[in-house]
């Protein structure tokens, strides 16, 4: 079962008739085959995720010497039933009788959380990347840290618990027989309708407190050098990624540098849009937009190479993308951040924050913890 936040409600996707495990060699075929399918009903779509590694591979970036736990590089499902939980509940299904008879575990914590790199190691990578920035090899780079424990989880109860405190616009949950994912991702990477493609990068996060409101948050971001610079860079980078697949002259910043308010925080956001060139296929779109720039750094290729040379553990789903592709080629994908992956009785939560020259290693290291905190608290 999959739940995906949709505007003011949620959609539940279930009764899967196909489950397609992606790898580096079948991904192109998978995307090509969608082109041949017909879109007749709402259920005519694939929903699932691309992991970080398979996206790097599409860009011809190989990852060597990383510890891996054998989790799927990408996985997509064909749902036969979609339940729309908005103001009105609507069920669309190809099946007469929906069957649902798997049993799932209750949450059990077997061993407490541990972080995979300590501050000393983090600082070493941070200083190395600062040097690379000074030398012009990268302009911004995001180091990932990972929290892991041994546990079994009940993802559905986790998901609704999470939604009650932080129902961010790209939240989703996947519950499969051998793994589950719970995420409150805030960021839409691709929204494609017809030829129109929109992306909504977030760069800049501010924790709420009593003295803040939306306009004060905006002036904080505007007056904060680091946030402004990071945001500018991401806007130009996303304009670039869209320009690769869009008609010249059609890429525009629809809404520049505004604040979105959530239960616990403010985000600094821009909306950028373009119209696709005529000969663009699904693979071109995925390759050009993923992995999402705001969680990697800039410029993308060199920065990915640097990251992969320093991170000793596979990112799995983190900074990959979850979403759906309809058989009429419309799609919506997020950036997978703020997520729990439970696989083989291990839950992992990843967080990343950016090295730019005005940041301090201590601050960024603890920001990673703050980002993971609301997810860590679900286990309490």
């Amino acid at each position: 079962m999959i739940i995906y936040k949709y505007k003011d409600g949620y959609k539940i996707f279930t009764d899967f008739s196909k489950r397609i495990v992606l790898n580096n060699s079948n991904i192109k075929k998978f995307l090509n085959n969608i082109t041949k399918k017909k879109f007749k009903r709402e259920q005519d779509l694939y929903i699932g995720f691309f992991g970080y590694e398979i996206l790097c591979n599409l860009l011809n970036i190989r990852i060597k010497n990383q510890k891996k736990n054998g989790f799927y590089k990408g996985l997509f499902y064909k749902p036969e039933t979609i339940i729309d939980l908005s103001k009105k509940i609507k069920i669309s299904s190809t099946l007469k009788n929906q069957n649902f008879n798997y049993r799932f575990n209750q949450t059990k914590i077997l061993k407490p959380f541990k972080v995979n790199i300590n501050f000393k190691k983090y600082k070493k990578i941070f200083n190395l990347f600062s040097k690379k920035i000074r030398a012009g090899e990268t302009y911004q780079i995001k180091i990932c840290t990972k929290y892991k424990n041994k546990s079994e989880i009940d993802p559905v109860s986790f998901f609704w618990k999470l939604m009650s405190v932080n129902s961010s616009p790209e939240s989703f949950m996947i519950r499969d027989k051998n793994y589950s994912i719970v995420s409150c991702s805030p960021e839409t990477l691709i929204e494609k309708k017809g030829l129109c493609v929109t992306t909504k990068p977030i760069a800049g996060t501010l924790k709420k407190n009593k003295n803040l409101n939306k306009s004060k948050a905006l002036s904080f971001f505007k007056n904060n050098n680091k946030e402004t610079k990071e945001h500018n860079m991401i806007v130009d980078m996303e304009r670039n990624d869209l320009s690769k697949i869009c008609k010249p002259g059609t890429v525009v910043i629809k809404k520049k540098k505004y604040v979105e308010e959530y239960k616990h925080l403010y985000h600094y956001v821009s909306t950028i849009e373009g119209m696709l060139k005529n000969n663009i296929n699904l693979k071109d779109i995925i390759k050009s937009m993923m992995p999402g720039g705001s969680v990697i750094g800039c410029p993308k290729i060199r920065t990915l190479q640097l990251l992969n040379s320093q991170e000793k553990e596979g990112r799995n789903i983190f900074t990959g993308s979850f979403g759906f592709i309809k058989f009429n080629m419309d799609m919506r994908f997020n950036i997978i951040i703020r997520s729990i992956l439970n696989y083989k009785n291990v839950s992992e939560i990843s967080a990343a924050s950016g090295v730019v020259l005005d940041s301090s290693s201590k601050k960024e290291f603890s920001e990673n913890y703050i980002k993971a905190k609301s997810l860590l608290e679900l286990f309490k």
Binding site: I133, R134, A135, G136, E137, T138, Y139, Q140, T228, K229, E230, H231, N232, M233, V235, D236, M237, R239, N240, D241, S243, K244, P248, G249, V251, I253, K256, G293, C298, P299, K300, I301, R302, T303, V356, L357
Partner: protein
């Protein structure tokens, strides 16, 4: 036709779209040049990119081959790459500008832009031209009003131009103006 040589940057396609307003553009990676198209092109553009000019000997070769034969334009790394090939030393700055908006001013050496005109522009660079720098034909024509850093040059004899800043960035006001002026200069 304009040939844009991409140094695998995440801003190159903004440059492509900008130049596309004026002529047909072909863009390829620096290690995957279409020699036929390159030869046919009227203008060659060296894109921004990570690292420093010495990391791209292939592009330097192209620069030397076509110098004086075609109009050439360098942006950011491309700007540095041309200066590097013209005997300039490229070094790290004390303060680093990534995602900054600055003011620059045109000096008296420009033949294309009006003297003392000030522009708001977007910057993404760790390195800069080491000065003093002297060249017979190539003049620094714009500078940062605060730090005096070299921000543009013109070699009107060989038709070679460069911008340290990004005319393609949304931080640059009226960025198309710079490109239009350079492309239309005879």
């Amino acid at each position: 036709m304009i040939y844009i040589i991409d140094h695998q940057d995440s801003f190159t396609w903004n440059v492509v779209h900008q130049f596309s307003q004026f002529d047909k553009v072909h863009c390829s990676d620096y290690f995957d040049i279409n020699k036929k198209f390159l030869n046919k092109s009227d203008v060659i553009v060296f894109s921004p990119g990570p690292g420093s000019p010495k990391d791209y000997p292939e592009t330097s070769k192209i620069y030397k081959k076509y110098k004086g034969l075609k109009k050439m334009i360098g942006i950011c790394l491309g700007f540095q790459l041309i200066l590097y090939n013209e005997g300039g030393k490229i070094r790290q700055q004390n303060k680093i500008y990534h995602g900054y908006q600055s003011k620059i001013k045109v000096n008296g050496k420009s033949k294309i832009f009006k003297k003392n005109k000030v522009f708001n522009i977007g910057r993404y660079h760790s390195l800069k031209l080491n000065e003093p720098y002297f060249s017979k034909n190539l003049n620094i024509t714009m500078r940062c009003t605060k730090t005096n850093t070299a921000m543009a040059f013109e070699d009107n004899l060989n038709k070679i131009y460069g911008f340290q800043f990004h005319p393609d960035s949304f931080l640059t006001e009226n960025g198309n103006f710079f490109i239009k002026k350079i492309l239309s200069s005879k």
